[in-house]
Symmetry: C2
Subunit: 353 residues, 2 copies
Amino acid sequence: MTMSAPVEVRSPFLTACAGVTPQHTPVWFMRQAGRSLPEYRAIRSGVGMLESCSRPELVVEITLQPVRRYQVDAAILYSDIVLPLAAAGVGVDIAPGVGPVLARPVRTAADVEAIPPLDPDAIPYVPTAVRELVATLGDVPLIGFAGAPFTLASYLVEGGPSKDQAQAKTLMRRDPGLWRELLDRLAQISATFLQVQVAAGARAVQLFDSWAGSLARRDYDAFVAPHSAAVLRAVGQSPSGAAVPRIHFGVGTGELLGSMGDVGADVVGVDWRVPLDEAARRVQPGTPLQGNLDPTVLAAPWPVVAAEVERVLQAGRAAAGHVFNLGHGVPPSADPDVLARIVDHVHAWRPGD
Amino acid sequence: MTMSAPVEVRSPFLTACAGVTPQHTPVWFMRQAGRSLPEYRAIRSGVGMLESCSRPELVVEITLQPVRRYQVDAAILYSDIVLPLAAAGVGVDIAPGVGPVLARPVRTAADVEAIPPLDPDAIPYVPTAVRELVATLGDVPLIGFAGAPFTLASYLVEGGPSKDQAQAKTLMRRDPGLWRELLDRLAQISATFLQVQVAAGARAVQLFDSWAGSLARRDYDAFVAPHSAAVLRAVGQSPSGAAVPRIHFGVGTGELLGSMGDVGADVVGVDWRVPLDEAARRVQPGTPLQGNLDPTVLAAPWPVVAAEVERVLQAGRAAAGHVFNLGHGVPPSADPDVLARIVDHVHAWRPGD
């Protein structure tokens, strides 16, 4: 952080996010911290999910584990998208094998009004962990992250994970005013969570709108986009005035890519369904893309994996900048050795290959 | 079935499937038979799912229930996509609230070789029910249906419903030869199941590839399309030589619509994520479309429902023919009165509205 050279020279990840071609294509993996690593499972033994996210020494160690193993080009803070909700005082926990579970679903105006704002002082462990990580990571940027208002709303209204977000979408259509109030509150929570990370040294952020893909674009634009835009507007700059690239991602969002860029993202994340050259046509010209190897490819024999990695790299040339990633999170069953090999493969690849 | 006038005059549904504009836009609902109707729940009380599909008197009654209630323009046979697997001798049952559950997942060459072909004589209750339905329905066509090979394979390989079809896709990539053998066997089962329905009088068929949306188009084309094409090739004509329109549908298949038409579908079903005018650009010119009201709209206040229905109807004008439907199955919580009102609204609508 004290270098005089532009960050672009040091970080292929930040270079690609700025729309400039770096010396090698940068790579990191969504969910690289946690889940599939044996050293993660060892350290998490007997520690609840949300508890593990609130103990700085665990956050630091788990965030660093994949960086050590894989030499990825970015670290991503170990946390959970419902952590800021819990920290704000919403009754939510993470049930192993299920996901976030609400003590009580949010359905009424009173339920919405009871959602408190997030006070940065409620998450002191986040800046503590971020500062230590930034100091340790050196030239490897730390990505901060948060869940987008729609995805947080889905968990709150459904009361847990859901296949079709039917309850959330029903509230959205039945009472647009209450919906706006709900998403305003969640946007404040998301924005504050990201601001805390950026203020402590995160050099990029990713906004996860995991469930936005259940929406038609017209509904996304009308009911979701303004709130995600508010979150992204809140975090474009570091305290020192450096640009903080904002990555925006959701699964199954092929129809929404243009809108997800237009709400103020610097980089659009793409799942595996849309080839990156096609995705490049769906966003504003000049928008860097992140993605998009199908995570189920990880279980294939290496020659198949290598061919798919190369296909993604070739298609990524159509984008203004390409950050290699999976098209969704690392599956719990992923073999770490395959991920390591992918990193090497991406780093060794050159556009002429 | 004994009319001398062309069926088009009598059936707005068959007219639209033939790419001709009928007097009113036809409408039916995926999953209209079953689930949300109180008269269905009453008749199913104490009867297992697969058992209910194999008792002709129940199949007839459940198939007719929504036709009576809604005056929809087509009936769809009450059955289940795993029924032909069970009838062929695969150990599968439907667990309430879960879905199809396999006694033992299919993973090895021996498992695949143990999948028997479907003998039409193993499902005598299907032609019995179809014949009685056709006699009762008169001018209202009966749609036959089957699950497509990929979706059947997903259930078999995963051992039940799955979020990402990871096991199925892994088998597909690890052992393409075994995968082809598996899908060949399933295509025979699907095709036979449809042929039995058509031979007994079904006047259209729908091939459900419920989970195909988890595939990138390249994978769909390489690993799935030839097998779905084989199924569709087997059922284009009735015994009397009349065209039997083949509808092809899957959820989240926005990227696949072109391919799903190209494998031999006469009508492409579209989920709610892709507006029909955009879908019309993704299929061959002249392809009629079916869809695509977001099922979660059903719970909204009527003015919202009506506006969304009209939006779908307007967008459907871009297609060579439009069969109004939901963009996925009727949710169990759907209010039958809302569906009835939608049918009236669609029937009353005229393109100039």
